[in-house]
Symmetry: D2
Subunit: 296 residues, 4 copies
């Protein structure tokens, strides 16, 4: 089964000023990410505003990424949706266009009421793309679904044959560590909070998925290198700088704030879709100042 090492960038949605989908920034963005050293992209997830897109738009975005990436790095397609029927369509489509893996959050209107129910839901989605590795996207802060992940792995056995692992976006590092080591590390547990990457490395993380890897991957890769070289203090200092960057974002709505950063870097991704709201020019300027204050 797939075992991703390194960083996967959870990319942002791109829209024209009128809110319609804009595919044109994708090729440049992909080149930048490959140059930055990422192992892959995670698309149509939270940061990609997947839930704000129609199913057709999600498919269009997936096609654009698969084409732009052209097998040089991995393309993981998020297919989570409140309707499992829609998820299955997205999953089958991802397989048909040559994506490398799929991932899904738990249904988030009607919510799974038990780990077994969650497993059954994910099994149904994963079955629509049996040839692709499947990652459960665990993000309780957004879905409100906070099940025990060891129980999830245990109950998935035999039920989700293509389960590759978990996109683990939660701060409970001790459970994360337990998942990493479940059945001698059989599953690929990718860590999802960029601002805690060093802590995840400390307990054995090999890979991570996150939004800030879209614009700051080289710094995080440096954290990983320093950690592996045993340079703990230098790793801490660099991670601290990244924490301070993330704390700047958190003063605003994080996704629009990060799109403002992309704009600063020359990547015009356009507005967000409601209920997300782009930063005002004043907010973007203030964000720039506060980022400079912490060394960016």
């Amino acid at each position: 089964m797939m075992k991703i090492e390194g960083l996967i960038a959870a990319t942002f949605g791109a829209f024209h000023e009128d809110g319609s989908l804009n595919l044109s920034p994708i090729p440049d963005l992909v080149e930048k990410l490959i140059k930055d050293g990422v192992a892959g992209v995670f698309i149509c997830g939270t940061n990609g505003e997947g839930p704000n897109l129609t199913v057709e738009e999600r498919m269009t975005v997936a096609e654009a990424y698969v084409k732009a990436v052209n097998k040089r790095v991995l393309v993981l397609v998020h297919v989570g949706h409140p309707s499992i029927a829609e998820s299955k369509k997205l999953a089958a489509h991802a397989a048909s266009i040559g994506a490398d893996a799929i991932s899904a959050v738990a249904a988030f209107y009607f919510k799974p009421g038990s780990v077994q129910n969650l497993v059954n839901c994910m099994a149904e989605i994963a079955s629509a793309a049996p040839s692709l590795p499947f990652y459960y996207y665990h993000v309780p802060a957004l879905t409100g679904v906070g099940m025990d992940m060891i129980d999830f792995l245990r109950l998935s056995e035999g039920v989700i044959p293509n389960l590759a692992g978990i996109k683990y976006t939660a701060v409970t590092i001790f459970e994360y560590q337990a998942c990493l080591n479940y059945k001698n590390g059989r599953y690929n547990i990718l860590y999802g909070y960029d601002e805690m990457l060093l802590s995840a490395l400390a307990v054995g993380a090999g890979g991570a998925i996150g939004s800030t890897y879209t614009f700051a991957a080289p710094l995080y890769l440096k954290v990983m290198a320093l950690f592996r070289e045993g340079k703990q203090e230098a790793a801490q200092q660099l991670q601290l700088k990244l924490v301070e960057m993330v704390r700047c974002l958190l003063k605003y709505s994080p996704i629009p704030a990060q799109k403002a950063i992309m704009e600063m870097l020359g990547y015009t991704l356009g507005p967000c879709r409601l209920p997300l709201v782009s930063l005002t020019k004043q907010e973007a300027a203030a964000l720039k100042v506060s980022l400079q204050e912490v060394g960016f």
Copy 2:
């Protein structure tokens, strides 16, 4: 603007055993509801498993209801979706097929962060069906979006020209009463907790939308009649019986439990879709016994 009086039945989804959509029970169900005296149907909402359906399926269900109802009562189509773009498609479709009104929950992955943001989201949806009355579907227990509804009405002025009112599914009756009386009763505030109907009547409710009106409308209409005749004690006794019925349901997952009741009444609506799970035969039998114990 529309001012609905009486009861609107929030109907249930119907599926074949394999989980595919089953439209065949709709005509009979509609006849029953009209005979029961409801003022309309609310479709593809929570009880209708709208979030479990694809957009195409939701459109198909809406068409089937509009056709079966054939203008004899009202058809309200729920168009809420995490993607406002999908909601707009559903809204425009509802208008095109001759539905009487639309309604939408707040987006529930990315959630509105302020009342103004919520108003802006609803305005965008409502604008896709400008000829139809629009009802905001306030259901904080499911969406996690619990804004002040008076502020919502106030900020909607001029922004949602076709705002007819609110499907108010919350237990905060005092706010409900304030909404009923906002601007001398300008808006149609339909109450959403069947088990508290008498309390809503006491503060002035004229209409209500709820799932149990699909199978028990005549009893609730009797509560309304008794209340209006000033027979408080008799109204209380009957409402109490209905509370006891609802408490039986709440021992189970409420939507599957109610579909089991429909089955007892001869309406075979089939299984639920994941993450909802149908009652087992044992559970359905136990539910039947407990309903009989409280007089049904």
Copy 3:
């Protein structure tokens, strides 16, 4: 067992400017309340800032009220505390000074994990004052303990011999109605949200406990009278006015806001204790204006 009808005023704490306890306003306040027609006082509860007082201070306040009331109306003493051992001291003290009943919230640091556990906790407290009627104070919004109250009544049988009923401070009127009717109305279920009094009356409430009865009892008694005379519309109009008053309070921290109202009425109760913070003069003035706008 005790069966309170009418309104119980949940009185406010009184402090000197330096934050020390001030007993001097109690006699005048008691006279006002008796003149206003309340059936009793509920002291050292939420509104009385009981949790902000030391155990000794709570005893002192209880003594002052028992003395000032002098058996003319009922004195209910709140004895809830995170430490059941402290609660038992307060309960025994209340019995020793001639209070009429005691009441306790669930422990709120370590929280009961099941209805049975909650019953066992309350049984231990109630056993320290076996001669006094005991009311469980159900207030999930503050304690985070939201158990099924019918289960509570059922499991209390034989375990809390002096259980008189529940101070039911929750908006779930349907459960409230079920409790009122449990075992043919065996228990005294006092409703706790003043702004929903009419809705509670509609399902059979006979008594209520609340903070705004400290300054607006005559209006609420009028609501009760109108309801009983079958004058539904007039009752609604008056309840609406009271809802609008409460909505004014809710723009501020409710307890300090109500103490500002008491000040307007000539009852100087002094500041609140941290973490509560008194309204500023500007806030108090703005509150006064907004109250006048809704007819007070």
Copy 4:
């Protein structure tokens, strides 16, 4: 200001079978902890069932620990209480008996509504023991008070002169790292989740407070040593074993489960007080088996 390095054991309450306080196990327990290499004890906190004790009992326990420890390691006394007036009594008492530091959770009935309000509350408590270092005990999972801790440190300046740092019991390691580095490490930020100790070390933690240090300190000290020697993999392996131990506890109510472990080790601390409930003999036996399965 105080800068604690190493591990502080958050000790458990000890009671006779009838629930009354039992001081007799304290001296032996203290000897064990000193032998185990802890830097101090944290008493009457969450694990010490502080909130279940009366104020007098808390003072008695504090005196017993100060006496037993006799200045060989540090004694930190938790003085948090919903009543700040009671907290101040506990703080002054701790100073009078020669404790080394005090700590307090946020008030947890009425809860601070802003960081400034929280600072003002803590300032009032800390002012009652001005000679003692004060640690804010940040434990949002229990108090429901989840403020930004950098803002807390910033607003405390000049307001809490004896602020030594924070007992940081939250999983948000990135904020923890920011606190560690605030003003060049001016404050002593002690980490509070034992099962994430290695992750905290990775971002620079020097000290920690936790319950499992009462019975497993030598293993955690070994984690710390391995980390400092750069033996990352060995540190991970040992931390993993400790995570598995903690996961065994979390199947039960954690405090009673840990008291059962103390019993296995020969330290009879008696039952818990309600609402906490001791493990049954069967549960304790099952816990023992599951601990053995993970190597204890």
